[in-house]
Symmetry: none
Subunit: 415 residues, 2 copies
């Protein structure tokens, strides 16, 4: 099954944004076992949309389009698709109702341009948009399925996952491809590959391993092709057990999930309350922790101590400790843990202090140096890290490392 | 002058990497005033390369290709181009010399696969690669220039800047395309479009407007085609002034930038120190503020008060105020501002309290309801918002709104 992905709009063509929509969709389609043969970005211009469809329809099985569906005058895709597939634009009552609810919820009234968004081509099956106002559209012509979706990522992604993929599964004979993801933390990809080399080489023919690295985390994705669910389950079980014996301490989940979620579950289960005391991570750990729904059950709060004054005043870090050792030191992060647990009245805490860059580094304390501590009032584990990359990446790596260390602390794997 | 950009290789088609080469090239070409009409990613397969060239040659003036030129067996682009443009592959002595020097410099000897990289199609003018071993190739056919370049960014980029662009300037009469971006905050796209409808309709033929929305922010991009820099500057000045009169209060920058950067510049310039007191945004505002290099000059820190206890203990919010009005209330966010300014010793602060969801909503206080306050010890502005979308989006919208309000407060636009 051949898939083409079409992005509509000028932002990519003038080089203003990277085309991350196509990458995301390509990954999803590849995960389904489909073959993406082309991704193309074109301008929101009727002639170009038509000629691209002329070329792809009949030559590929599925065309996934994003963008060009906004309420403003520069968005011409819907009109073009309507005339291309025949028929006129008609108000769809179901879509209108979705849009009305969308605005009602936000306490605003429909204006004419919003009402126009409920118009869809007669030739399509509309796909309601639960996160915005422009509906998706499902067309079929000459054996090719053409789906047009909004370009806003948080509107497009749920539409693909909740409507397009189930629709494709209903209609097509998609080959069996079963995945299992194992999440590891704290070991760089190349080291991990060396640690599990033998295990990887012993995988059967039908199994494939992919390393999917993120800052501080490597996802291992195992894929089984052409086996039934039971056989695949058994293979996964066997291989995962063998992996657990080798690198179990570094695995934090046997499914594709987030470290902050797993940490939250452990905290909730152990009834342990959490706070953070952040300097160089500037609130990023708190943001990750609170991105998890229900985190208020275990997360009490944070002190972001960007200045020494705040470290002293709100976290009771001794001013002398700071002046003697510097803010980026083992003594200060240790003291921040104790201060956070006491002042925010929590069982455990995480603390960071470092140099995120690009400025502020010295020979002795270069950019990327971060002291991280985790623990409780009595028992604090602290370690110095040297992270690479730009400011954002230093902050992200330090945040993930702090959460991974706290998880190991809670499991009794540190010390 | 119409330009197409072609990326060759499977990494993009399986969603493994974002196509940043095309974005970079597109920006360069747009900067030259050329019009990029399409970017396309295809697989390194002779049939697909040929059919793509068939389609683009004659229809566009310039085709810029990257990728597919490696020394391994899966790279077929060079052979395909050689047969497509006619003639055979021949060793180019100049290229061979460049490659030999490349290896000499690294103290390694040429192996056969490296020698093969000095073979180029007879029909091309080779472009020496000073940062790697695969040369670029410049072809011409039916009035179209086709340039093939390596896909490795640090090999491709200097080739574009030092060889391709000077070559184009020599050969072509390049028309001008000039952009200007205006950043607005706090008005949804459809409302903004209504507010500036008249202004938009009065734009001259040579000017085009695009709406580029993000959570809480709409970027307006004006493009002028076929004018010299002075004329374009004048047009931008005139139209921007007219826009400022209509919606000036909602514009925070006249260039493509971030709200947190602009806010930081104003704080630095006014010598005003900042703290945040965050409940539902959970540290996201602090993270955005500290993502800006040098933010420690004005940002002192935050209290993330996820529990009522922390609000009372660290921000001096009266326990009775909370029990009487609820944590999500005007009284509480106002008190949080005063507490943050006092406890963190800053001139101004931002505060949030709301229900990010998906749980925790009631009829009276539904998910998405957020109270936001900005101000100083004496003068606090607060407002209730009803945001839509999932948890992450509520948090992001509330964070952007808080920063936008603080900026307006600093400019004296509130009250």
């Amino acid at each position: 099954m051949e898939v083409s992905i079409v992005t509509i709009g000028d932002e990519i063509l003038i080089g203003q944004i990277n085309d991350t929509n196509s990458t995301w969709i390509a990954k999803r389609m590849t995960g389904l076992g489909l073959h993406v043969c082309e991704t193309v970005s074109i301008s929101d211009h009727p002639d170009q949309i038509r000629s691209t469809l002329d070329r792809l329809i009949g030559n590929t099985d599925l065309v996934l389009m994003t963008g060009g569906l906004g309420p403003t005058k520069d968005d011409l895709t819907k009109e073009t698709l309507s005339s291309y597939f025949g028929g006129k634009l008609v108000i769809n009552e179901e879509v209108l109702e979705t849009i009305r609810k969308f605005f009602q919820l936000r306490g605003r009234n429909l204006i004419e341009s919003n009402r126009r968004q409920a118009e869809v081509p007669e030739a399509c099956r509309p796909l309601p948009n639960l996160h915005g106002t422009a509906p998706g559209m499902w067309f079929e012509k000459a054996g090719t399925i053409v789906v047009s979706m909004p370009g806003v990522p948080y509107e497009m992604k749920p539409m693909v996952d909740d409507q397009v993929i189930p629709g494709l599964k209903d209609q097509l004979n998609i080959p069996k491809l079963i995945h299992k993801t194992i999440m590891t933390h704290g070991v760089p990809e190349s080291y991990l590959a060396e640690m599990i080399e033998e295990w990887e080489e012993a995988l059967p023919e039908c199994m494939k391993l992919a390393y999917l690295p993120r800052p501080g985390i490597v996802r291992l994705r195992l894929t089984v092709r052409g086996k039934c669910a039971e056989e695949a389950e058994y293979l996964f079980f066997e291989k995962t057990e063998a992996l657990r014996k080798r690198i179990g301490d570094h695995i934090f989940a046997y499914e594709d999930t987030l470290l902050e979620k797993v940490l939250g579950e452990v905290l909730k289960q152990k009834k342990v309350s959490l706070s953070t005391a952040e300097s160089c991570t500037g609130g990023n750990i708190a943001r990750l922790i609170t991105s998890v729904p229900g985190s208020s059950a275990y997360f009490k709060g944070s002190v972001i101590a960007y200045s020494d004054q705040v470290k002293a005043h709100l976290l009771d870090v001794d001013a002398e400790t700071i002046s003697k050792n510097g803010a980026v030191s083992q003594e200060v992060v240790t003291s921040m843990i104790q201060g956070a647990c006491a002042k925010l009245n929590t069982d455990v805490a995480m603390a960071t202090s470092g140099i995120a860059g690009p400025d502020g580094g010295t020979d002795e304390k270069p950019v990327g140096l971060v002291w991280i501590a985790v623990g409780d009032r009595e028992n604090v584990f602290s370690k110095k890290f040297q992270f690479g990359g730009h400011r954002e990446l230093v902050i992200e790596q330090a945040s993930i490392m702090a959460m991974g260390l706290l998880l190991k602390h809670l499991k009794g794997l540190l010390n």
